[in-house]
Symmetry: C2
Subunit: 347 residues, 2 copies
């Protein structure tokens, strides 16, 4: 079999970290071409193009400073050039950009290509809530697997051990993707339950906001454990109510409760939500996102908003009280302190 061409679309914090994993793996494994083009949205950093900085210094000084990525990762601002003839397309952009990227790529990708999405989010499509991977499947007409897990980018880039989960309903493709991602320090399991894996990755960010709220309220580890637990129960219920029935074991994979825990203790949604509560109404979530995240995007509040809109349309807000309260706190409709009442009364 000829070596497969891999490309990466996206170059943020997580994109750069996974580029390190992929860059090492394509060299270690005979199945892939060694050169991996990466689509980088061009920005000027101190007057210099980000693509040039990455290709010269092998570091993304804006989104993952301090980490060298392999030389075979080649930054390119031309999206169509990046995906040209690619056999495996790795999507790792903020979910806000997926529509425009897919529009650009429509009809331009190899018919036999496969996609793997590392994007955490959900999409409102024709009044219904949909998976990001379904945008890719619809627009590009190719299969789309997902990779999720307890994977804080900086730690992955530092080579600290972690686990991840590939959701891929096609076992053969799943194994190919495992070869692309699995490293000794990045342990990958493949499960044939791709919808659930993706939903876990999206919905955990809502719970991460909840964890930040109780941290901002000064509640301690017991209360946070309750938020994490009730959050997981709502994630399970959401998957089983609105998508094809989840395999219970999937929630025990890294993409499930493990990622949820890390998100609730170490994630950016937690951090901004805590600051939001501590600001006591002086700052909005958006202002704090701008202030604290250095251009990174927050996925929890927009995902909470989409889930809220979707549940409201179905008259089912009361079935997901945690998700509901978290959104209402984010938009200022409910006071952060009332979150504890929500926990106390959770059914």
């Amino acid at each position: 079999m000829p070596a497969k061409k891999v490309c990466i679309v996206g170059s943020g914090n997580w994109g750069m970290a996974i580029a390190k994993v992929i860059g090492e793996n394509v060299v270690a494994n005979g199945k892939f071409q060694h050169s991996v083009p990466m689509y980088v949205y061009e920005e000027l950093i101190d007057g210099k193009k980000l693509t040039e900085i990455i290709n010269t210094d092998h570091e993304n000084v804006k989104y993952l400073p301090g980490h060298r990525i392999p030389d075979n990762i080649v930054a390119d601002p031309d999206l169509l050039h990046v995906v040209e003839n690619a056999d495996v397309i790795v999507f790792v952009t903020p979910h806000q950009f997926v529509y425009s990227i897919c529009k650009t790529l429509k009809g331009k990708v190899k018919k036999s290509a496969i996609c793997v999405s590392l994007i955490k989010g959900l999409d409102m499509h024709e009044g219904n809530l949909d998976l990001i991977s379904n945008i890719v499947r619809r627009d590009l007409e190719i299969p789309c697997a997902v990779l999720m897990g307890a994977n804080i980018a900086g730690e992955v880039a530092s080579g600290l051990f972690c686990e991840a989960t590939i959701g891929c309903d096609d076992a053969v493709l799943g194994n190919l993707l495992k070869d692309l991602f699995h490293r000794p320090y990045f342990r990958v399991a493949v499960v044939q339950d791709e919808d659930t894996v993706e939903l876990c990755g999206a919905l955990k960010n809502i719970v991460g906001v909840g964890a930040g709220i109780v941290d901002g309220l000064g509640c301690g580890g017991n209360t946070k454990a309750a938020v994490i637990r009730l959050g997981l129960l709502e994630i399970v219920q959401f998957c089983n109510t609105f998508f094809k029935k989840a395999r219970t074991e999937t929630f025990l994979e890294s993409c499930g409760f493990a990622d949820l825990v890390t998100t609730c203790y170490c994630g950016r949604n937690r951090k901004v939500a805590e600051a939001f509560v501590l600001s006591a109404g002086q700052k909005t979530i958006e202002e704090l996102e701008e202030e604290l995240l250095n251009g990174q995007k927050l996925q929890g509040p927009p995902t909470a908003a989409e889930v809220y809109k979707f549940l409201k349309g179905k008259n089912m807000l009361h079935d997901f009280p945690l998700f509901t309260c978290i959104h209402e706190i984010c938009i200022g409709k409910m006071k952060p302190g009332d979150f504890i009442e929500c926990l106390k009364n959770h059914s």
Copy 2:
């Protein structure tokens, strides 16, 4: 029905916190006598008896300083006097003292009494590993339920919201115990799976040591998530292999993964294990327990030792690599840094 007499055996950190919950509940709920005797192992604190301090100042200045407990909790150094005519006996001592306490109480408790154990640990009995509650059942010949959960004592005493799980196979007794423990800030669920609830409470402390080891190694949130996840999988496997089959839902209760998370982020086993790794062989676990815990006992290392001995006897150490490595690190047979290899190779 005449009001039931409740007593508490134990007055450490957790004993004092739960005494606050119980002391409030017996007054709020008509089913119980208001006065609750509490067995306190007598110690002199600055020349004054601990029982006298508790009964005068309503504070255990040694084990839960800064928290006032209700006046209806009456400290008493006479164990037999405390349990005399008691209908509900709450056991909340370190597990090292259960044998001698049960020996003293044998034949002295009311035949219709019930016990509820809050003790986290396991017992080696006639070459087999057994539950602490079974010592109580055997010696006192009365039913023994358990209460476990994500319940750091100081936070419970501060009235910060948390959840807990009662394991009680008899639904009627379970409901009575729920009345005794459930408060607006201490939300109790009852499950008829008492063995699993108790095993979760014991085994999570081994995993808490593992979390401390990776913290000591400076590994970050991703690696810790892997420890927590693999630890939960070994807990589930242990329950199902050696005890009656667990209900999967029990692991989703507070006693299950929620308590595990709190233990791995906020618990004393984590703290001492982290210090042990950072001491780089200069101090033993026992020395650090003495140094850091102000008289509190550590349950993780002894539980790991008992589980290890038990598994070794069955030639099954390799089926529980995480539990095995954690014990071997505790006793200095394995280097802390090798723990990462254990995670990487976990089946």
